[in-house]
């Protein structure tokens, strides 16, 4: 006997996600309704500005997936983000029509996905693991920054579009879907709704994924690679699939980013920007898909407010708060709050199932 509730939400629920109650879904629905109404009550500037934070949230979610769920310490989500942003610019400006813009979206995401696949293939099938993944992805990021900053010359022109070196690539069009004459173009509030929709669809899609068979394999890989291997899974394949998927998501975020500012430059590959997704996800809670998104919006809003004050202490404050969160709340804010409130009972049950005492003793002996 399945209740209507279970039929509707059952596949989105499981021990791998936080929020498996009616209250959660009701709350989420209310929150979404409020979020959707938000642009109606604020200025176009505020809506557009919030859309930027939300598209960063998608980038954070891609890292939650690969790091929080599969335990792959990727420091290079911005690589795929940047590849997609640049590709979107190159393709859309070259084609120069609404249809061209529409076509540039899947091409850009595909390029990011392929780059993630290649990098992932070479790491995981080269048996690189653990913290070495972090350092290799970090190096790829830094290499991309150095390389893209040097593409100022005429020889670095793809079609009609110069890569632009340090100055970056201006003139990237707004997102649009359709052909000439029958097109929807996104900016201001409509861009906000587009980002919100993508975010929600991605969130629900990832909940399906992590609560499905493959999701269990992912989490198992994170918890104990050797045991997963003994159970007959190819951990390299699991990691590669997750990493590639994460790259695609980061790429989608990069497309949104490039069209938001009509601009992209090599600073997307900088150490500072590369660290941001890790910061968001660490603060929000890496094992919570929603936590990273919420933390992203909150942190970016806060950082922007500090910049607006023009205070010299802005970055010192950011650094100090970050340090405090990392030290005081190792699991991140959202899982912490969840554990302290609704998840108390549920959480105990999950810990109990996940790591039975006898199991541990068996390993120890």
């Amino acid at each position: 006997m399945t209740s209507p509730y279970e039929r509707l939400f059952g596949r989105f629920e499981g021990p791998n996600t936080i929020g498996n109650t009616r209250v959660f879904w009701a709350g989420l629905t209310v929150a979404l309704a409020l979020a959707a109404a938000y642009p109606l009550v604020v200025s176009a500037y505020t809506a557009g500005n919030t859309a930027l934070f939300m598209l960063y949230g998608l980038l954070a979610m891609s890292l939650s997936l690969v790091w929080g769920y599969a335990g792959v310490l990727s420091f290079g989500q911005v690589v795929f983000f940047g590849f997609a942003g640049y590709t979107f610019g190159i393709v859309s400006i070259n084609l120069g029509s609404t249809l061209g813009v529409t076509m540039a979206i899947p091409v850009a995401v595909l390029v990011a996905t392929v780059v993630a696949f290649l990098l992932g293939y070479f790491m995981f099938y080269g048996d690189v693991s653990g913290v070495f993944v972090a350092i290799i992805t970090l190096v790829v990021t830094l290499v991309m920054q150095t390389f893209m900053a040097q593409t100022a010359g005429d020889e670095w022109t793809i079609g009609e579009v110069p890569l632009g070196g340090f100055n970056g690539m201006p003139g990237i069009p707004n997102l649009a879907v359709g052909t000439e004459g029958a097109a929807v173009s996104f900016s201001g509030a409509s861009f906000y709704w587009l980002v919100l929709t993508i975010l929600v669809v991605s969130y629900l899609g990832l909940r399906l994924l992590v609560n499905g068979r493959f999701g269990y394999a992912m989490v198992a890989v994170r918890e104990d690679e050797d045991r997963v291997e003994m159970l007959g899974y190819d951990i390299r394949r699991v990691k590669l699939v997750v990493f590639t998927l994460g790259g695609g998501l980061a790429g989608l975020s990069g497309v949104l980013y490039a069209s938001w500012g009509n601009y992209i430059d090599p600073s997307v590959y900088s150490l500072a920007f590369a660290t941001l997704p890790v910061v968001w996800v660490t603060v929000g809670g890496r094992e919570s898909l929603l936590g990273g998104v919420l933390a992203t919006v909150a942190i970016e809003w806060f950082r922007q407010q500090l910049a607006i004050t023009g205070s010299a202490w802005a970055t010192v404050v950011v650094g100090t708060l970050l340090l405090i969160v990392v030290l005081a709340l190792p699991e991140g804010i959202v899982p912490f709050v969840h554990r302290k409130t609704v998840g108390f009972v549920e959480g105990r049950r999950m810990v109990g199932e996940d790591t039975p005492a006898a199991d541990r003793e068996g390993t120890a002996e």
């Binding site: 541990r360 068996g362 120890a364 002996e365």
Partner: protein
């Protein structure tokens, strides 16, 4: 020499050992027998200080050491031979021994001569990386390493596990003679009938995290009585 009182140990809040009370006197060789998963390794880790007890106390040489860290216990004279040996693979044999020189900070001199007498192969291979040696050789190194600082008490965690029989035999003979020559008190965990009978003067039997029986010399000689506690 060593006493535990109502010792309760676990990972997080989940106890694995409950209310373990045991005593080892000076110069004794005491065994602990039990099945896989009974809590033997947990006990050894708690005794050397790698796991913090949830409750109860540990007394060593008349001093309560319940809150002492592992390195403090080692320097107070507790030698430890971990399960599955755990030598430092990238260090040479000699360097492995050097690391443990601090065991028993009170000892007058280091026992390089003695351990090389017992295990001459280690002197031959002094500059070989420990990770490249066979399992038996690594076990000898682990024992030698625990002995080199001349400990007063030696904790041995399953010395026979995964080692070829000839070396198991050698270890079974060496340990009692170390006990005799150096006066080292020995507490070991084991599942191998021959090793237990060859070494132990008496034994505690442990099941599901609690001590269920104590076996004197007479019952140790009885294969059947012993097998009851170690059969998997």
């Amino acid at each position: 020499m060593l006493t535990t009182t109502d010792l309760t140990v676990g990972y997080g809040d989940t106890p694995i050992l409950r209310d373990v009370s045991l005593t080892v006197d000076d110069g004794e060789i005491v065994g602990i027998v039990g099945k896989n998963g009974a809590g033997k390794t947990t006990l050894m880790k708690a005794l050397i200080g790698l796991l913090d007890p949830i409750d109860g106390s540990v007394t060593y040489d008349g001093t309560e050491i319940t809150d002492w860290a592992a390195d403090e216990r080692a320097r107070a004279g507790v030698g430890y031979i971990p399960q599955s040996r755990d030598v430092f693979p990238d260090l040479t044999v000699e360097q492995n021994l050097l690391v443990a020189e601090g065991v028993n900070a009170d000892a007058e001199d280091l026992l390089y001569g003695t351990v090389y007498d017992y295990f001459p192969i280690l002197e031959e291979r002094a500059s070989q990386k420990a990770g490249t040696m066979s399992g038996g050789q690594q076990q000898m190194l682990a024992i030698a390493r625990a002995l080199v600082g001349n400990p007063d008490l030696l904790l041995l965690d399953e010395p026979s596990e995964g080692i070829q029989p000839s070396i198991v035999q050698q270890i079974t003979e060496d340990i009692p003679s170390i006990n005799e020559e150096l006066g080292t008190t020995i507490l070991f965990v084991e599942q191998n009938l021959g090793v237990i009978q060859g070494m132990a003067e008496r034994c505690y039997a442990i099941e599901r995290g609690t001590i269920v029986d104590e076996l004197g010399a007479d019952r140790l000689a009885d294969d059947g009585a012993l097998a009851e506690f170690i059969a998997v």
